[in-house]
Amino acid sequence: MLVWSRSGRATTATIALVLFGVLYGLPIAVIALASFAGQWNSVLPSKPTLEHYVNALHGDSLENLHVSVVTGFVASLVALVSGTWAALALRVQPRTARRVLDAVFFIPSAVPSVSVGLGLLVAFSQPPVLLNGTTMIVVIAHFVLISAFTYGNVSAGLARLPVDFEQVAESLGARPFYRLRRVTLPLLTPYLIAAFSLSFALSMGELGATVMVYPPGWVTMPVGIFALSDRGAIFDAAALTMVLAITTAIVLIGLARVPTRASVR
């Protein structure tokens, strides 16, 4: 510990709390305030109203919520399957191939999302595969962008899994698929849930690739929020942002409560 005196500790605590408050507490508080604001002409908003939430849960905005949640679930689920598959299959590769492929599966997280969207537009606006203007291309964009994060989470979990469990299972006569189903995957469950949660949160907030590829009938919340703020409806934008954050939080908290018996000691 660095500071021992009572006054010194009080000072550092105050500085730290103020810093955190201004940097991280204030932005969220301000969005929350704005989402209830009827008017904001002085320091604090006035005429509190629920109107923006009513707007956020009606018409286009409600549709945005639906689109975001569906896109998030589908993209995260596909990413979870393919990421888990990749992480598991990577373990049986020769050493050099494993190193190279590990980097390959991480690359999508390093490429700017706008370029991912542009690539999809260029690739799938021409035969043989025409996806431009479909819902599918949005889901694909989200899948590509979050796949590296699911892969990373699952492979980190696999690396932490003691090798003994699987070897004992194998020595007891479990064939590879039986072992995978009864031992490896149950033990990985906490990591799978964490991977899914992170992917879902990232998908809910994705903007760069979505604005490149979304069709008029499939507008996600971030795009909707941008459209609202762009035409000056900033309080509605704030309310929709709150809905986004709360929806994400509800899903994440729900997932965190999924009971898993696989707590490794």
């Binding site: 006569g173 479990a174 039986y178 072992r179 149950p186 696989a262």
Partner: protein, 385 residues
């Protein structure tokens, strides 16, 4: 699919089902034939040849990195030999997948599946092999009973102590009626007291299951001496000694074995001269000593005389006793015994005996005696420690 099959199986399984499930296999031995294992061109197991007879416990001991765990994992199928063959019973298993080898394995940190109850852990191997439901129903409680864990069947591993977890791990390995049981440092993670009682438990278990073949890897000589019929001592990937526990302790074939299995006083001696029936006279400095020449060392050569600290005495023991004069360097009292360190002609000698009322003082001259039958000559040239 297999699990479903088991669920709808009739009350009594047919012999064919039992056969397919591999749950009634008879005991059989293990044979290593010139087995070499290398990781990235580093040889970690060097031409190991060793036989474990059916129903026998063989302990492999040695310092870490000596290759003993690699030998065990080669039997399990987790390391692939570069050369040589491994057989279980009459079957060459060198290229058989681990799950098809019909072995039971217990590892140092138990590796109980944390998401399964104790009984599910024990049933795992049977289910994995598609054993009929009636076999599982009968076998699981039986195995838990065998290790004294019947009343803990519904507990999860995290609700069990280390010793209890290890018992369940043993029950899990036994449930499949393995041809051989592999124990990899099974007691190392337990604290000293529980380790002793588990050791007794393992000895009892083997009395109850006399046909079980066991390969036991440990770095603890007490475990090996207590349990094993035969002991193999490993060093740098090589088997440097193999024999029954008693004779390996009494007549170590080389310096490393003498020092690794128990404590040893080693005196350089020369002018070996065979006398009668496996005995020889040697010279230690100016003194003449008599010792067993168990390994039949040729006359006239140099070698080491090995005598255990507890075989050194302060008073004469028999008519053909040896006597050495020395100076007391230090005396240590350790509760139930006394440790005396002596200097005999520039060589350090250790003597242990029952606690004395008036122990000798450091610096005092002291005569020590040892019986010729408790001293052994071992060749000097092999494996300097």
């Amino acid at each position: 699919m297999r699990a479903e099959l088991a669920d709808v199986a009739p009350a009594m399984a047919t012999p064919a089902q039992r056969e397919r499930a591999g749950v009634d296999a008879a005991s059989s031995g293990i044979r290593f034939d010139d087995v070499t294992v290398a990781y990235n061109d580093v040889v970690v197991l060097d031409s190991l040849s060793l036989t474990v007879k059916p129903g026998e416990i063989v302990a492999l001991i040695g310092p870490s990195g000596s290759g003993k765990t690699t030998a065990l994992r080669a039997v399990a199928g987790f390391v692939r030999p570069l050369r040589g063959t491994i057989s279980i019973g009459t079957r060459d298993v060198t290229n058989v997948a681990p799950h098809a080898r019909n072995i039971g394995m217990v590892v140092q940190n138990y590796a109980l599946f944390p998401h399964m109850r104790a009984e599910e852990n024990v049933a795992f191997g049977l289910r994995a092999r598609g054993a009929p439901a009636d076999v599982i129903r009968e076998r699981v409680p039986e195995c838990l009973r065998m290790v004294g864990m019947a009343s803990y069947a519904k507990r999860f591993p995290r609700e069990l102590s280390g010793g209890q977890q290890q018992r369940v791990a043993i029950a899990r390995a036994l449930a499949i009626r393995p041809q051989v049981l592999l124990l990899d440092e099974p007691l190392s993670a337990l604290d000293a007291q529980i380790r002793r009682s588990m050791l007794d438990e393992l000895a009892r278990l083997h009395r109850d299951l006399p046909s079980l073949t066991v390969l036991y890897v440990t770095h603890d000589q007490t475990e090996a001496l207590t349990l094993a019929d035969h002991i193999g001592i490993m060093r740098d990937g090589k088997l440097v000694a193999f024999g029954d526990a008693q004779s390996l302790y009494r007549y170590p074939p080389n310096r490393f074995s003498a020092e690794f299995l128990g404590r040893a006083n080693l005196l350089p001696v020369r002018e070996v001269a065979t006398t009668t029936a496996g005995m020889a006279r040697v010279r230690f400095g100016a003194d003449a000593l008599i010792a067993r020449n168990h390994h039949g060392l040729p006359d006239g050569g140099e070698c080491l005389l090995c005598v255990r600290p507890h075989d050194l005495r302060l008073s004469p023991c028999d008519s053909i006793g040896n006597v050495l004069g020395g100076v007391v360097k230090s005396v240590q009292w350790q509760g139930d015994m006394q440790n005396v360190e002596l200097d005999v002609a520039g060589h350090a000698l250790r003597l242990t005996c029952a606690p004395m009322h008036a122990p000798p003082a450091p610096g005092a001259p002291l005569a020590i005696h040892f019986s010729a039958s408790e001293a052994t000559l071992i060749p000097e040239h092999t494996l300097r420690g």
